[in-house]
Symmetry: C2
Subunit: 499 residues, 2 copies
Amino acid sequence: MQSLNQQIILRFLGLTAILNGFFMFIAYPFSWYYDEEAQWGILGAGTITVIIGFLLYVLNKPKSTNIQRKEGYLIVTLGWLTLSFTGCLPYLLSDTIPNITDALFETISGYSTTGSSILNNIESMPKGILFWRSATHWIGGMGIIVLTIAILPLLGIGGMQLFSAEAPGPSADKLHPRITETAKRLWLIYVVLTFAEFFLLKIAGMTWFDAINHAMATVSTGGFSTKNASLAHYNNFPIIQYIVIFFMFIAGTNFVLTYFALKGKVRKVIESEEFRYYVFAILSITSIIAIIILFFQEPTLQTSIEHPKVFGETESAIRHALFQVISVITTTGFVSADFTMWSFFASGIFFALFFLGGSAGSTSGGIKVMRHIIMLKNSFLEFKKSLHPNAIIPVRYNGKAIKQHIVFNILSFFVIYMLIFMTSSVILTFFGLDFISAMGAAASSLGNIGPAIGSVSPVDNFAHLSTGAKWFCSFLMLIGRLELFTVLILFSPSFWRRA
Amino acid sequence: MQSLNQQIILRFLGLTAILNGFFMFIAYPFSWYYDEEAQWGILGAGTITVIIGFLLYVLNKPKSTNIQRKEGYLIVTLGWLTLSFTGCLPYLLSDTIPNITDALFETISGYSTTGSSILNNIESMPKGILFWRSATHWIGGMGIIVLTIAILPLLGIGGMQLFSAEAPGPSADKLHPRITETAKRLWLIYVVLTFAEFFLLKIAGMTWFDAINHAMATVSTGGFSTKNASLAHYNNFPIIQYIVIFFMFIAGTNFVLTYFALKGKVRKVIESEEFRYYVFAILSITSIIAIIILFFQEPTLQTSIEHPKVFGETESAIRHALFQVISVITTTGFVSADFTMWSFFASGIFFALFFLGGSAGSTSGGIKVMRHIIMLKNSFLEFKKSLHPNAIIPVRYNGKAIKQHIVFNILSFFVIYMLIFMTSSVILTFFGLDFISAMGAAASSLGNIGPAIGSVSPVDNFAHLSTGAKWFCSFLMLIGRLELFTVLILFSPSFWRRA
């Protein structure tokens, strides 16, 4: 244990808290402007958080700036926990979510960009608190892409080994030799995308407050809305829904590809195997769902969310199909209609999509398209290998042979993911959920999606869950967001053994 | 294609059909004794099957007795299909199951030792047909253990490469240098176990007809009963249920271990890692389920099957817990009570058990304990590897280091298994099943279990499924029974390409 560089870990956590506190100060003016009671809670939370962060920062002067693998894992997990435990203060101190279990659930759901909520009446919440809620998404998304490669260099450390622990996918294309530069560029894209969506949503008719909140929740593939009905609130404004569809799609794309696209290197994007499968999955599944809505939806299975056909039935069916498919694949979790009412077949498809996930290197969670490509290719190779047991045939991805140990790592990831999913479903039934809701909550939490099926369907929320179930789902959101290994490794005895 | 030795494949299929026909002739006297109408159908089916088999055998004289890997895979899959297509003749010709979809479903469920049924009133069926139904289990179980290593040597071929394709597990301990001897010994154990259970059940109070049928359905981990209520029919005869529990347990144990136990080499059995985990899983999960039944089962959640407490509440709870846990783990599928009524938590546990399976080298289906052990051990090793990326640490099993490619193969098996499960669940919703029944039917069919959850629960059956769903479940039972690869490889283009 002494071999761990505790100073550098705590110093990093201090920086994380300071950053988090500054975002609370950004939320404050919203509450102040509307003269809300909650402003004092937000201000207090921000002050406490910054002070804690400042103390952690100045009291820990690392003798060495050298960072080991183990410290890397600890920084990522403890960083997320620091965000979560300070991030729930605005809810608690403003008395808007007075219960610690609920406050932490909502906060972890925010930072993990899941978007599951325990709020029964979102629209009655103070604006400052709603902004803070969306901000937790935005900070979480930023964390996923940039945090560990942008903050660590501030401490004088090149965080390549961390990036491999943190990046939402098995590996990341280097797009610039210097990692700090990479981080800055991706962060810039993230900010530009957020502002672009904000302006477009404002022009399309949203209030400026709703526009900034939805922009933050989209680009981070979070899914918190400022409306009780989520994006179904804008069913009479198809243009708003199309804007959100577009930005969910971009947020679920590898940010490195978005960078190339903005630099005009479109060929790089088109050549990406993951991008092509990602687009193919969206288009093919949208087609099936649209056909179900148009032709096979039984009259008894109406959506419980209002579902007006602004431009006619066909457009409406395609729009809602596209919206929900992209929302689930990118693990955003916005709702334009209740897909669990679109026949058993549609529910089945959406449940399967809970296990797909967006692209690696995006803000989306879940297993991710790239892992599925490698798993499918490997499965076909296994058949070949059964016939020719001595042949060595590597899995090829983006035209390159993938090293066997990476394929092995991906298979192990999937095995662990599914074992956790199965075990979690059983544990959630223990906490009183019915079977289908338990599986929905487990899959949705682990995949950072948001709405699920059963009693946690798109028109319900997680408020009715027992305390134990809420803590357990919070844990699942966290380990899902941090790609399982980063958190679970801390539970392995060998982690705490001296080298 | 010309490179395939078609003669030897067809000759083998001929032998399979002849064997199958002889079993039909064994079913005939039962129908004759009770003077049933069905006797003519059974006799006709047997005659047709033996003639087809005889023609296939004599018309195909292989120039070479050399058998390649590809022929091995074809023989296994086509052998099972030959059994199924001839095995449904008694149902069709006796007009007891006049529909080809239903007849084939019942037959494949038999040979795959699944035990799912489309019969609404089992007790009204002719005795000869019921015997034939149980016989399909027994033949299937025999096939799993012995067929490919006992029949192929008749053709003058050592089938080791087939055994590796056929054995219900990733590898099999050699227990005798000569494979024919091995086959004969395991077959002897299989027969001895069947007769032992038959006598014990008879002594315990079953009729001789019910005893022979239940013995055949237990030792093969099949699950067809001659009673509408399955083993719940004997809820007033706990001793009968305990006998069935014991033989289900043995049938789910590696037959090689049973052989060692009978030879007095008990140490070999105790030292087996899989056996210890198998026993541990049964005991620990039985304890949890018994506690649920005793203390937490809400009064509203009564079993719909009669559930008398013969020796008192505690004994009854333990007995039913043990019965259902062993029945599901060994993939037998006998029912002593409706476990889906034992709270959501119990349902969740049983659904998870659908993915466990018995021991490799037994007649049970599913993923199997051995694969889970290797997957769990590998998962822990993955954490170690994340910390020490350059270290080479093998997975150890039964004290030996497992070669990396075998671990890889097991992970791939699980990945393919879960992908098929997910896809199948969606496909079954397409065929009109509700979501939970679709997942239950998919998991149960693929794992060769029998009863599932939802509308295919232990007190329901598969009769109400649509034609498409029945064909699809039949396919799942077949590929599950033949360990996925054996069947799926025939769909891979590289299989049909010339070397």
